[in-house]
Symmetry: C2
Subunit: 194 residues, 2 copies
């Protein structure tokens, strides 16, 4: 296994590309697509998103202290791409992309109704890192599309058609490989190997 060494760079992929919706008193709601996003704590549930100071949404989220992470499906990927390369200073992304802002549990930041999952977040801390500031946030509430709920109250996230972003390209989810822990389960009984 021959290795080629590069200088430091961003190579942690595939990652979610998510539409982050936000609003504050003086402005229309906006959407910014973010790939530097992730879960950082299970309990309390916390996420981080990183945004450049120059971006229109930066001040909105800083002022309001709120944002919503909206997961992106194959149906929404074109809108997500658009919301990543266009600025809310110049146009109304909800209108342009025919997306519907919807009131959730937060005071100002709306959900994107068309997304199958909306993660409502309240900012706890803003950490300047360089090109980007990291918004550390607690999850306040999670809204999901009822069409993917079954009779037993289980939500089938992986039937919603989620996409990922990897090194400049968008992909759908592919082949199912296994459940967490499958490497130590017996095929039939589900018990751990001795």
């Amino acid at each position: 296994m021959e290795k080629e060494f590069f200088p430091a760079g961003n190579m942690l992929y595939p990652i979610p590309a998510v539409m982050v919706s936000c609003a504050e008193m003086a402005t229309k709601p906006n959407i910014i697509t973010v790939a530097w996003a992730g879960t950082v704590c299970s309990n309390p549930p916390m996420v981080s998103i990183s945004i450049r100071k120059e971006r229109y949404s930066y001040d909105i989220i800083k002022t309001s202290g709120e944002f919503v992470i909206n997961l992106v499906t194959e149906e929404l990927v074109q809108a997500a791409d658009y919301c990543g390369v266009r600025s809310g200073r110049e146009l109304d992304k909800f209108k342009e992309m025919k997306l519907t802002p919807m009131k959730g549990k937060l005071s100002m930041a709306p959900l994107i109704a068309e997304a199958p999952v909306n993660i409502e977040c309240r900012v706890k801390e803003i950490i300047p890192l360089g090109s980007h500031d990291m918004f550390l946030a607690e999850v306040v509430s999670v809204a999901v599309d009822q069409r993917y709920m079954d009779d037993k109250g289980k939500f089938h996230l992986n039937q919603t058609g989620l996409i990922v972003y990897s090194h400049g390209e968008y992909y759908g989810l592919g082949k199912y490989i296994g459940k967490i822990g499958y490497s130590v389960q017996k095929p039939k009984t589900g018990k751990k190997k001795v």
Copy 2:
């Protein structure tokens, strides 16, 4: 679009499940699989990984101040799953999974030779959040498998067979959808729409 509201939870998916390798003076190198991982800054390139204090690797990374993020492919997903549910206190995961520790640019943390991408990181700050502590780190160097380099020095990450983790399940990458910015490009010329 009817919504069901859940209490706060972890629903940001799909995400990378990465094998994090680490070592310090007194111990054999270890591997911990981490799903709470992401890029947090482009310049300088920075990542975060979150680890529970109880985990064996927690102290190793805290002591050494180093770790390596190794991307996971379909060939490596069984090892990654195993390294997520077993503890290095009890066994040698490199040996058990027939993986090869390889010296990179860091003093102690080894690369996993079999991974197509190794992201070598130095810890800048440890932020306690609750169940998990977040390790904020700068990327020091990135090593890639030369087999995926072309004649022009371009690395083809998305030909390596990367996997993602989504809501308890592992998936391969699926259908190619488009490049970043495709929503505002003309199909043929690649110029922006007016």
